[in-house]
Amino acid sequence: MMLSGQITRGIPVTNDSRLSEPSQVDDHAERGVVVAGLNIFYGDFLAVADVDMHIQSKSITALIGPSGCGKSTFLRSLNRMHEVIDGARVEGSVRLDGVDLYGSEVDPVAVRRRVGMVFQRPNPFPTMSIYDNVVAGIRLNSGKLRRAETNEIVERSLRGANLWEEVKDRLDQPGSGLSGGQQQRLCIARATAVEPDVLLMDEPCSALDPISTLAIEQLMLELKQNFTIVIVTHNMQQAARVSDRTGFFNIAGTGKPGRLIEIDETKRIFSNPAQQATQDYVTGRFG
């Protein structure tokens, strides 16, 4: 666990919040992400209600559920990305390795350095080359590195994203010139280059063809050696293929908040879930 001062090699950690201080994580149960009593609001509207969840570190957790049930909102609350929207706020706590991400002295920017994110649509920076896209997280955070170091980070991240062989001869070309699947792997390389602890993926394959999807799924299985992965997906086969645990979100009706119905071992969710609603959803008898 990287809890001491260095969040990422080479990135100077400027904030002195509790995030970067050593904390005492003796209790094994505190490892990973622990969500307790989380309510997520947009203004006065309660979008997601009362979520308790333990996301184990170095595993893949899939979140499934019908559209509008709040799973993306929940995912974005894990690295405080939902705060980008005006009036969005939460009640309850999200603890990463024992540190409350919503603690009053915690900087959301620092949270996002430890909890990275990959989006539905690949979004490489159009002004940057492939190389610059990979090190964007470091360069944009004003980290000054020697060329040899960035070269090493670029190669390691691109290899980690199974993209190195395809792009090593054109690192100076614009990232937006790649195919959709390659762009998404570039975005994964960009997210992993800053060495976060947790990687959030919001429907990372829904804009991709089956072959690119397969490539990303294989990549996820490799990435889980080093990262805690949470993935939102509409594709239940995908959840069944890649995840260790699966959480099912549902919504009672429009205007009502989304809730976590249950979360369990993926095998159990897809074979013998505890809740009837989950059973209905995974067998397609629902919505």
């Binding site: 920017v109 996002r112 994110m117 989006f119 159009p126 002004t127 944009l140 955070n141 614009p174 800053v194």
Partner: protein
């Protein structure tokens, strides 16, 4: 069954189309009408010839197509002809102005004009009276560059920062108020901006204070809203996904704006800024009041009057000196200079935008 299919394919493949020759004859007939009608009515100026030719072409192509090709094709041809003619009519004044300025201006566009000022020695005054070239607009060119440069130096940072505020931070009543104020500023008559700047400098520096700085200030009032509006549009065009991608990497908001939003939008922002400069570089009225008229080169915007090319042009026209042709020729040459400066700015902005624009955008 087969007959139905045949009929249908025949109606698609065998649709009657006017041949190129027929279309050419229609254009020729229109030209004939365009030449003859104005001449018969006693006014054969080429402007009328063009207008009548264009209108008769639209009418003839519709009638001809209706008779030969049917209603749908005729409507298509009518619309196409109308759009083309409208475009041509819009281009007409542009070409006419450009051509006139070049034709009239090139006569005095010489070394004396580019290097000289209007502080004429007795010998030069005599030479001018004998019909020789004398006097120049060097001081006015310097003035234009300094005054416009000052205006841009004030308006561009102000406008860009306002646009960043409106797009990235502004919410609620303050943002709405600023947007409204920017709209109101767009509508300020330029003479009012000149009066405001003049009044301000009179209050601070005493009556009769006319300086390049006052002129630049007046122009910046006109320029700021244009910069704000164009930059705002460009920043809004930057996809939110890019901002989110940056936030998700743990990049603070201000750095995201500086390193992601602005670089992505820079090409459009530059074009908009150039348009704003072009908008004010030809302003005359505010500079008449705020910067005044000078006959010599003044490079100090904080002291003394400073002339710009439009003001120079205006004075050469209303006070041409003896003989009047000398002044009018200088006015045309100054107008040509102004057009060349604006054109250069546009080319520069285009080149810069092409160099800086995001690569590989689909």
């Amino acid at each position: 069954m087969t007959t139905v299919l045949d009929d249908r394919s025949a109606s698609v493949v065998g649709a009657r189309r006017m041949s190129r020759n027929v279309q050419g004859s229609i254009a020729g007939a229109a030209l004939l009408l365009g030449i003859s009608i104005p001449n018969l009515l006693g006014d054969g100026k080429w402007g009328w010839v063009l207008v009548v030719t264009a209108l008769s072409y639209v009418a003839l192509i519709y009638v001809g197509s209706r008779a030969l090709e049917g209603r749908r094709q005729a409507t298509d041809r009518l619309m196409r002809a109308t759009v083309t003619v409208a475009f041509a009519l819009v281009m007409l004044p542009l070409l006419s102005v450009t051509w006139t300025v070049i034709r009239e201006g090139v006569g005095r566009f010489d070394g004396k004009f580019l290097r000289g000022t209007m502080r004429l020695s007795p010998e030069e005054l005599l030479a001018q009276r004998d019909g020789l070239a004398a006097g120049g607009a060097f001081h006015a060119m310097v003035g234009t560059l300094i005054i416009t440069g000052l205006a841009a130096a004030i308006a561009v940072p102000l406008g860009l920062l306002t646009a960043v505020y409106l797009v990235e931070y502004g919410r609620g009543r303050l943002a709405r108020a600023i947007t409204t104020m920017v709209d109101v500023m767009t509508g300020i008559p330029s003479i009012v901006a000149g009066l405001c700047a003049y009044a301000l400098f009179v209050i601070v520096f005493g009556p009769g204070s006319r300086t390049g700085l006052a002129g630049g200030l007046a122009l910046s009032v006109l320029m700021t809203p244009v910069v704000v509006r164009s930059a705002e549009e460009m920043f809004r065009l930057v996809p939110n996904e890019l901002r989110e991608a940056s936030y998700a990497l743990g990049v603070p908001k201000w750095r995201t704006i500086l390193r992601v939003v602005i670089p992505t939008a820079i090409a459009g922002v530059l074009t908009g800024t150039t348009l704003a400069v072009a908008r004010v570089i030809g302003e005359t009225a505010p500079l008449l009041i705020a910067a005044g008229l000078a006959q010599e080169t003044n490079v100090n915007p904080f002291d003394g009057r400073m002339t710009s090319l439009p003001v120079f042009t205006y004075y050469q026209y209303v006070q041409p000196g003896i003989p009047t042709e000398a002044g009018v020729a200088r006015a045309w040459a100054a107008a040509l200079m102004l057009v060349l400066i604006v054109a250069t700015l546009f080319v520069l902005a285009r080149v810069l935008a092409n160099v800086l624009k995001p690569k590989g955008l689909r």
